[in-house]
């Protein structure tokens, strides 16, 4: 029988046949003893079956046990993983691949070289400003491999309040600055290496952000 299950430990809801229950909560790893099962009736509005646990602002951020995610401060997008970056050797091949197989909407960025463009990719529902409209997925770039000059081939763009302040922290916690701040299409970027050898693009929040944008909200 198909049921809607809700985990008492983390309040994650999922539907499953009662003969095919996962052996652990898919979200927090709790055992099935913690699942509340109710008949599934294709309800149109999410019912709250289990009160979500409350957060603890004093918890040790190094403790990896399941907990409610922390509250992030308002009016900052510092630290958010905002874009992926894939590299290409031949632009048409990669553009066709993601258009044909995954249905992306891909455009050349405004000032890039049409022969070796920096391409921007909508991978799902978006707003008029080409930011995702729905939570928990990213838009990203297709970039010429030979335009990457640090040797790190970073795969992600992380937005920060200040590149200068972030670079200080990067160096304090075992990372390195690999490319000082530079500008593309009026946006400020830098490349750093994390403590594990991963390359990362830093993108400084533009001064034009109004904090009214859906992507600028906190909760």
């Amino acid at each position: 029988m198909l049921k809607l299950y809700t985990c008492y430990c983390c309040s994650f809801p999922f539907k499953a046949d009662d003969g095919m229950l996962p052996c652990e909560c898919p979200a927090c790893g709790a055992s099935p003893d913690n699942f509340l099962g109710e008949p599934y009736n294709e309800q149109e509005i999410r019912r709250i079956h289990v009160d979500p646990p409350t957060g603890n602002a004093d918890r040790d951020p190094m403790d990896l046990k399941w907990h409610m995610p922390k509250r992030f401060p308002a009016r900052t997008r510092n630290g958010r993983l905002r874009r992926f970056v894939f590299e290409y050797d031949e632009p048409k091949i990669l553009r066709d691949f993601y258009t044909d197989v995954f249905g992306w909407d891909i455009i050349n960025t405004e000032t890039s070289n049409p022969e070796r463009p920096l391409m921007y990719c909508a991978t799902g529902p978006g707003n008029a400003n080409w930011e995702p409209r729905v939570v928990s997925f990213c838009y990203g770039f297709l970039k010429a491999r030979d335009s990457e000059d640090t040797g790190l081939h970073p795969m992600y763009v992380i937005e920060v309040d200040s590149i200068d302040k972030t670079v200080e922290l990067v160096e304090q916690y075992g990372g390195k600055l690999r490319k000082p701040a530079y500008t593309v299409d009026g946006q400020l970027y830098a490349v750093v290496e994390d403590s594990e050898g991963n390359g990362l693009y830093l993108w400084q929040t533009p001064s034009t952000v109004t904090w009214e944008e859906p992507e600028s909200q906190t909760l």
């Binding site: 894939f86 990669l94 993601y98 909407d105 960025t109 991978t123 939570v135 997925f137 075992g174």
Partner: protein, 174 residues
């Protein structure tokens, strides 16, 4: 790289994604670590990320207890650790070893067709299958592939447990 403003280039919004599907959405960015505590200190202190150790069997992986997969909220998150506001995605820290030696993104694929059909399409268009686990545990179907340029993608076919009430499942209704 650049940021787009309404009314500015490219003078049109992105296309509508009208299918009840998350096919093609890049959902998680994965980074490799050698020393978990060192990586934690870096991402907690530099970027303010919040983290927890994923249960085993998520996305078909059963890492050792000493080298777990760690999910990271890089911004406001729901209680299930999916993003709570649009425009960014969660990250995952994965232990680097001989087999797992290249960062990758997790991308969701069609639920209405088999994973094999999606893999066939990837190969037909020039991609390569790196590891096809098929049914992984009782929760997820996953396969690691590379696109024609060698970028690595973990393709995830969501199980039927999805209720379609989850905020991350919205799509462009016609």
């Amino acid at each position: 790289m650049s940021e787009y403003k309404s009314g500015a280039y490219p003078y049109r919004p992105p296309k509508k994604f009208t299918k009840k599907s998350l096919h093609g959405r890049v959902r998680t960015g994965n980074l490799l670590y050698e020393d978990l505590v060192r990586a934690q200190k870096f991402y907690v202190n530099v970027f303010g990320w919040d983290m927890f150790k994923l249960p085993k069997n998520v996305l078909g992986r059963c890492p050792d207890d000493a080298t777990p997969d760690v999910i990271c909220a890089s911004g406001p998150a729901q209680f299930g650790w999916e993003g709570a506001v649009p425009g960014y995605m969660p990250a995952e820290l994965i232990h680097k070893d001989d087999e797992m030696n290249k960062p990758y993104v997790m991308m969701e694929v069609e639920m209405d067709v088999s994973l094999q059909e999606t893999l066939d399409r990837v190969v037909e268009k020039g991609g390569k299958i790196i590891d096809s686990k098929g049914e992984a545990g009782d929760w997820a179907e996953v396969a690691m592939v590379e696109d024609p340029a060698g970028n690595r993608l973990l393709l995830w076919r969501c199980p039927d447990s999805r209720t379609w009430e989850e905020p991350e499942t919205d799509y462009d209704k016609e």
